[in-house]
Amino acid sequence: MPDARLKTIEGGRTSPEAAQAPLLMQARKLSFCPNGKPLVDTVDLDIREGRRLVVMGANGAGKSLLLRLLHGLLPPSGGEVVWQGKPLDRAAMREQAMVFQRPVMLRRSVIANLQFALAVRGIGGTERRRRVEEALEQARLGDLARHPARVLSGGEQQRLALARALACTPRLLFLDEPTASLDPASTLAIENLIATAHARGITIVMITHDKGQARRLGDDIAFLHGGRLVETGPAARVLETPNSGAARAWLEGRLYLDDLSSTPSPTP
């Protein structure tokens, strides 16, 4: 169990810029407890319009589960997700998009993957063609448009997945470790796409283990430990001077168990 320090959370504290942005989504006492075990534990989190929130934490901290709960892919065991003051519903989900760590490619061509995503959202005709062309250009996949999506490289598939999500013009984009296992060039391409999305005003909630990426792409950081939100705040502050023991230990690269008060930090 996390010690007392971990329970005195920094949740709720946000940067002045974030506090000024309108509230888009809220997690209220959000929990996910399959078989009674809390994997996400009473998380309170504000997601504000146009901001980039980076979710960090060790493996098994509940980051991916939290994103799935926020996006409505999993039903919460407790608490609720609120979208613009109302409970999350299908209409709200259609204003969001998600890119998974392992991109899911339909067994079709690159262009057919894009067309499908737009077709199921009721976008057809000239508008669909325009968005497909724009997505191919943004993802720099124009030359591969007629290729089967599943033969693309990992980086190309992730670019396609991101372009497919952006083609649906979401207000909120969830990214679950979008650059995990990608090389620096592919990572840069993905980061450029994320930056472009943010420049268009899309709110971003992204998981990463990469502190540099969190610094480059994050306005705010939410740090999870053992399913609990142990710290939130402006990215620069959390990365430089984390308040919680878990975030400090993780960011310093120390090995630790749940009980930080009794676990000595191995000296490198």
Binding site: H71, G72, L73, A97, R107, R108, V120, R121, P148, V151
Partner: protein, 235 residues
Amino acid sequence: MQDFGTTLAEAIGLILLADGDLIEIITLSLRVTLSAVIIACAIGLPFGALVGAFRFPGRAVVTVFLNALMGLPPVVVGLVVYLMLSAAGPLGPLRLLYTPTAMIIAQTILVTPIVAALTRQVIEDLQTEYSEQFASLGVGPLDRIAALLWDARYSLLTVALAGFGRAVAEVGAVIIVGGNINHVTRVMTTTIALETSKGNLELALALGVVLLAIAVIVNAAVMALRASAVRSAYA
């Protein structure tokens, strides 16, 4: 009784000469089998896809039932269809007994559970892969079924082939409801059974060779198609 070599030579002669009776029997066999497989696919593919793609109460029971029906005994199916179509049966007024239509009905009943059960498994596996992406995109039920069936099309070709294999080799049900009437309901398998019992081994063997050749050709075509799909990552 002739030796095997002589019989085989005469059988091949019949095939090469395109014997009229032989062609008629092969044509009827293919018509009955293909009709049954097409109807079975029209029913079994969407039904299997529905069971594979959606969660509903009783789904496990339906799945067990479908899997069990894959092993339906053909003679039992033949008997039931016979009873339904006989003069005293509820469908007697349709006068379908001892017609190719009756044979198509019997084969459809045998093949549909095979197509549905295998489709359910194929679609369920694909659905597991796609489910989160579909949920994220907000894909509706109809779009989901259509997309799953389309993306699994190469695997489903193999399913249809399994149905074809069962239908084309079937003898028990079609002989009961078709009656093996010459020039009316005589198909390859029933002819082989009849001609063998009569000692007319050339025709029986010729039909056996054709049956094997059809199975090999269909399998080879589907394998080639599937290999091409795998190479281009569509399967």
